[in-house]
């Protein structure tokens, strides 16, 4: 049975092309994926991300529990509303999921996890939470709308209650706060995103989601589908769970080392395996590729290097750059001249440092 977000009828009324996305009936585009991509890079676009799973954690020992559950350290969260990106690992160091954790108070944190991994995430979290007396409560009563782009914040702020505007205006990156939206609806506004642009991700009670969407549309925010979301996050150098990493991949092999906090004395799940792999040497690395000639890099294509074969993880035409880019996992060591097998043709590609695009512009060297 395919699940639907509360905005499903709204998407259909806009003429969206709907696809199955991890068991959810979601809009892939509303006409042109490329135009939606450009709308986010140049102005403001919005995505229905209500399929993502919100989990509230309650209990006096919640911080202690998260210090154990997550590979990043929640002790970085000191101020109410602050957010942190982290991997949740299994004992072998493989990535069960990546998520964002928000700090409300010592007895209440919030997780936002992926839709496709919902069931296994909830089972894992509940299993680990027992020992800490922490209760994990899913929040299907919420919808979520991501508003992204250089003008996204201004357009959202214009819809808020006047008393809230200066405070949300000053909201720092990776910080969230409550505010009143149109008709006094209660919003949880986070300055986070998955596009490489500034903007907000807004959690809203499901019964207000359509009204919020329509108010945003009236403010000139363009509806954008999950197709554009994928090319935007790829250009921005952000991993997609299931494509760029999964339970067979350690964070070192997925360029997620920056999210691993090997702080002294913290015994988080997967730590021993991570330290062992680091000591032994990480066998594979994740790199960025650019294809300067015509063609498109795609998931699953073979990558040929001096040290053997690798493969393309996420790959696509990048609308901002007007050429194809990709993430690939290849054997560690000096790769030499790198080529990709595109339908039997070996095509030379450039190895680059990513992100490919930030704040609307191609990064240096792309």
């Amino acid at each position: 049975m395919t699940e639907k977000t509360v905005l499903n009828d709204t998407h259909r009324a806009l003429g969206a092309r709907m696809v199955d996305f991890g068991g959810w009936d979601m809009p892939i585009n509303y006409g042109s994926q490329i135009e939606e991509h450009h709308a986010v890079r140049r102005d403001a676009g919005m995505f229905d991300v209500s399929h993502m799973t919100v989990v509230d954690l309650h209990g006096a020992r919640t911080r202690e529990f998260l210090r154990h559950l997550l590979a990043n350290n929640v002790d970085k969260l000191k101020v109410q509303g602050k957010a942190l990106y982290s991997c949740m690992l299994n004992e072998q160091g493989g990535v069960i999921d990546d998520l964002i954790v928000y700090f409300f108070d010592e007895a209440h944190f919030r997780l936002v996890v992926n839709a496709a991994t919902r069931a296994k995430d909830l089972a894992w979290i509940e299993r680990q939470a027992k020992a800490f007396g922490v209760e994990a409560k899913e929040r299907p009563d919420f919808a979520m709308i991501a508003v992204q782009g250089p003008n996204a914040r201004a357009k959202v702020i214009g819809l808020l209650h006047e008393v809230d505007r200066p405070r949300i205006e000053k909201l720092g990156k990776f910080v969230a706060a409550a505010a009143q939206g149109p008709h006094g609806m209660p919003l949880f506004i986070a300055r986070t995103g998955y596009t490489g642009e500034d903007g907000f991700e807004i959690i809203v009670p499901a019964e207000h989601a359509v009204a919020l969407w329509n108010a945003l549309a009236a403010a000139g925010v363009a509806p954008a589908g999950l197709g554009a979301r994928d090319t935007l996050r790829l250009e921005a150098g952000m991993n997609l769970y299931g494509q760029d990493m999964d339970e067979t991949v350690l964070p070192w092999e997925a360029n997620l080392g920056w999210t691993i906090s090997l702080d002294e004395g913290r015994d988080f799940i997967g730590r021993a395996a991570l330290e062992a792999q680091k000591a032994a040497g990480v066998p594979r690395v994740m790199v960025g590729l650019v294809l300067d000639e015509k063609g498109v890099l795609r998931h699953g294509q073979k990558v040929l290097t001096a040290n053997g074969e690798g493969e393309i993880l996420s790959g696509s035409f990048a609308p901002t750059l007007n050429k194809a880019v990709a993430f690939a996992r290849i054997p560690a060591g000096e790769p030499g001249e790198v080529r990709v097998d595109i339908r039997g043709r070996e095509v030379p590609v450039r190895l680059v440092k990513y992100p490919f695009v930030r704040d609307g512009k191609a990064c240096e060297g792309i």
């Binding site: 092309r17 585009n29 197709g227 015509k294 063609g295 035409f317």
Partner: protein
């Protein structure tokens, strides 16, 4: 969804064929197919002079989403390719049955045209696809 021109014949795999006055068979993909593929970003055209076989790959179109082989509806020799698509592959999205043609073939066996679907049969087929 735009009207399907009545003079076209179709492969089940969504390529159209139009027999022109000089006997050439012009080939493209249907409006339905371009809609399914989404924004096209790259077209790999056949070489002029290449011989193609009915039902075999002759070109490739790539959208943001996926790469698709384009089968030739008839056998013969490629005599024209739509060079415009090299710089403007989105022409197929904009005008699939007109300016978005892909290549033209001098057919070696006109009888193959009888194996294709007519516009009504194709319309019925994609109607069923959608449900």
């Amino acid at each position: 969804m735009s009207e399907i021109p009545g003079d076209l014949k179709f492969l089940k795999s969504h390529e159209w064929a139009r027999v022109e006055d000089d006997g050439l068979v012009r080939v493209g993909i249907s409006d339905h197919a371009q809609g399914q593929l989404g924004d096209l970003v790259y077209v790999e055209l056949p070489e002029i002079g290449a011989s193609v076989q009915a039902g075999h790959g002759a070109a490739v179109v790539e959208s943001v989403k996926a790469a698709s082989d384009i089968y030739s509806p008839v056998s013969g020799e490629v005599v024209e390719v739509n060079e415009v698509l090299n710089d403007k592959p989105e022409t197929i999205n904009e005008d699939a049955y007109g300016d978005g043609w892909i290549f033209a073939v001098r057919a070696s066996n006109r009888d193959e045209l009888n194996d294709l679907l007519d516009a009504d049969a194709y319309a019925e087929r994609i109607e069923n696809d959608d449900h």
